[in-house]
Symmetry: C2
Subunit: 428 residues, 2 copies
């Protein structure tokens, strides 16, 4: 038996989704945590753990932390505004000008500090996030996540064409800066890691994509980008790469489509070929329903991706998306699936609560390792939910969770844990 | 000049929509309120008002109160849950069983008290709301709104067919109870008034509809009901009334379609004939985008209604809708219009912020009289928004309002006014 020093025991109403099909619920159960990982969930505490102090959360809910698999930190100032244009003019008019401000380290620090606090506040414990093209800002964002104790893949954005001068890199400069960041983080034992981040095909030359693919392979670094988000964007990619039969093939050609673990955001209009390659390569489709509405992209047919055996996670995609809450992103994912269900003459099934919850926890969490579940061996990333305010009329535990997701907010998140460690509000 | 006793002056950043096309914004302006009504909005205070005390809200926003034109108070316990079925089975499985509990006056009081507080909390100052079939519960809801100081049309629901025994009335009993309520409220000078509320065509016999239409005419009482919400429901109405060429015609035949001021909720699938009659009769279409998603009804083509000259308001429609916030309902209305815009190949225009805001304020407010604007003569129904927490990076006033609508919540609503009177949090 291990020493009790490395063991924590937490008690409460434990809810998680080992599979998308249903919630596993343990009323007044115990989670034994050893060295930051779940040792087990018990209805009655095994006698071997008697004598160890128990943190008793009484009637509160204990659920896995949220995983946000697509997010743009430098767009935090634009959250909840400037959504009157679709993707390409939206980038030109609002997003690129804002991102160009991150050359200023002081400005970057002020926005990123507030951003990291908001991520903490909304109960997100792991995130895959875009910074800007600026190396210094990316390093700052990494440091802020590190100091906060949250898990993050942080990507310095790469782009060397079709963007304003102020944020256009040379291919060589972009690759050199990226390599420098990979080197700086290479031997660190940290929850914060770099990720290769070509913005999207239209903003990256072949030369840049080629170099990024080589870096990904050389350092074994994961990749994130955008895919088949908007009809105008897809047409543009076709014009730029007339020799490609589908959008994702451009990434694939350069080793950026599942050769290392890969996130592709949006996938609203992915065709069968693209989906087939995503499935075989284990590429994760990141569903960003709020952004897809706000920027007028469309409805991602998430059920088709699940049916095709493609891994699906959720992304806030701020500031295309207007909320950092992955709980509210779940709500939108279910709602969009219901619109498609109504449209289909009810031939497809809409998302169940447990399916959406799985995407936000174990589905998205899989990108970070054994994250997003309370099964044995998983990192104990968790939220303690105090929904007493929402529970005045008496509900089942599953109803309480559902109501927290739909009606609750950050006020109901009492505590956040990452790898077994209580995470305090980040200082600004 | 009137005595200063009846005059109040409020200062701050004043924003409202006299027309849907744009926000009228007065930075650091003054609103002069006389006997509860707006006398004028001024950039500089006219000298005739000098010497009168000014309530200075400094940098805060002053906007009209929210108007919720479709809402089911007895479904408050079910808010944010039980949305895994479409309309008709949803009614049978979740809604009707819950509504049957309102025979119990104590239960009704406990739920309705919490409901009224939530309406207050979310910044809704006027509401058109359904109670259940129970006369006593309807009276309680009226009293709670009266005590709270909020404006409300409260409808005792009428239904005498196609519903469980526990909440099915006889036509005669339903009409007698309704008449009794109308009599009780007839000579009251109150912000709380009754409204004739046939649930929807499938749950009302011809005899009941006929009697309700006569009551509406006799007492000059407005009417609210549901219209063309869901494909299955519309088919059912066609079966029940094979002689009607469209759903709304059934109401119309009995004097319940604009003969007195009328609200028709949803209108997702209204055809040209129905829309044409709505326009000519001045029937208000109440757009309930959250409910239309959650219960899988579909997307109301709100632009078509505006283009056709039909009055449009917004409704939370809880618990089909999952939020009482009309601000969040605005967000969804814009988002749904963007999906339709994307679907249409961008042939239709999506809703602008000012159009959505107009629906929630002057559009919906028009049902209550001169409500929802700060033009001269309008009731001073207002919210004071303290968005300092959201304003760390510097924004224009219009951006601040947009960000509050998208990102803010009840924490940012500092004060609520109805007819010039500050409304405190209702006691439970």
């Amino acid at each position: 038996m291990t020493t009790s020093n490395s063991i924590k025991i937490i008690k409460g109403n434990i809810i998680f989704t080992p599979t998308p099909e249903e919630f596993m619920i343990t009323e007044q159960g115990f989670i034994v945590i050893q060295d930051g990982c779940v040792e087990g969930v018990y209805k009655s505490l095994p006698s071997m753990y008697s004598g160890i102090e128990i943190t008793d959360y009484s009637d509160k809910l204990i659920i896995p932390g949220m995983n946000d698999l697509h997010c743009h930190a430098p767009q935090f100032r634009n959250l909840g505004m400037a959504m009157d244009k679709e993707l390409l003019p939206w980038l030109d008019n609002y997003t690129f000008p804002e991102e160009s401000r991150f050359k200023d380290e002081e400005y970057a620090h002020s926005v990123y500090s507030e951003f990291v606090r908001e991520i903490w506040k909304q109960g997100t414990t792991r995130i895959a996030v875009y910074s800007t093209v600026h190396k210094s800002a990316a390093l700052q964002l990494m440091e802020l996540f590190e100091n906060a104790g949250l898990g993050a893949y942080v990507g310095k954005v790469n782009m060397d064409r079709n963007c304003p001068d102020s944020i256009r890199e040379s291919a060589e400069g972009s690759l050199a800066d990226t390599r420098e960041l990979l080197e700086a983080m290479a031997n660190k034992d940290s929850l914060v890691k770099p990720i290769i981040t070509p913005r999207f095909v239209p903003s990256c030359s072949d030369h840049l994509l080629d170099g990024l693919g080589k870096l990904a392979t050389q350092y074994g670094t994961p990749v994130q980008s955008h895919l088949s988000e908007n009809r105008g964007e897809i047409e543009w990619v076709k014009e730029l790469h007339a020799d490609s039969s589908f959008y994702g093939e451009v990434y694939d050609r350069y080793g950026l489509f599942g050769q290392t673990p890969t996130l592709m955001a949006h996938c609203v209009y992915s065709d069968e070929q693209e989906m087939s390659l995503m499935r075989s390569r284990g590429v994760i489709a990141v569903h960003c329903p709020t952004s897809n509405m706000n920027v007028g992209s469309g409805m991602m047919p998430v059920r088709n991706f699940l049916d095709a055996g493609i891994r699906v996670a959720l992304g806030s995609d701020i500031s295309g998306g207007h909320t950092c809450s992955i709980f509210k992103t779940m709500v939108y994912a279910i709602q969009i699936s219901k619109l498609l269900w109504a449209d289909s003459g009810k031939q497809t099934a809409f998302l169940s609560n447990s399916e959406a919850f799985y995407m936000a926890t174990k589905g998205g969490g899989s990108f970070f390792g054994m994250v997003g579940s309370f099964e044995k061996g998983y990192d104990f990333d968790a939220l303690i939910i105090d929904d007493s305010e929402l529970n005045r009329f008496g509900y089942t535990l599953e109803q309480r969770l559902e109501r927290f997701i739909y009606v609750g907010d950050d006020r109901h998140i009492l505590h956040r844990y990452v790898q077994g460690k209580l995470i305090e509000e980040p200082a600004i």
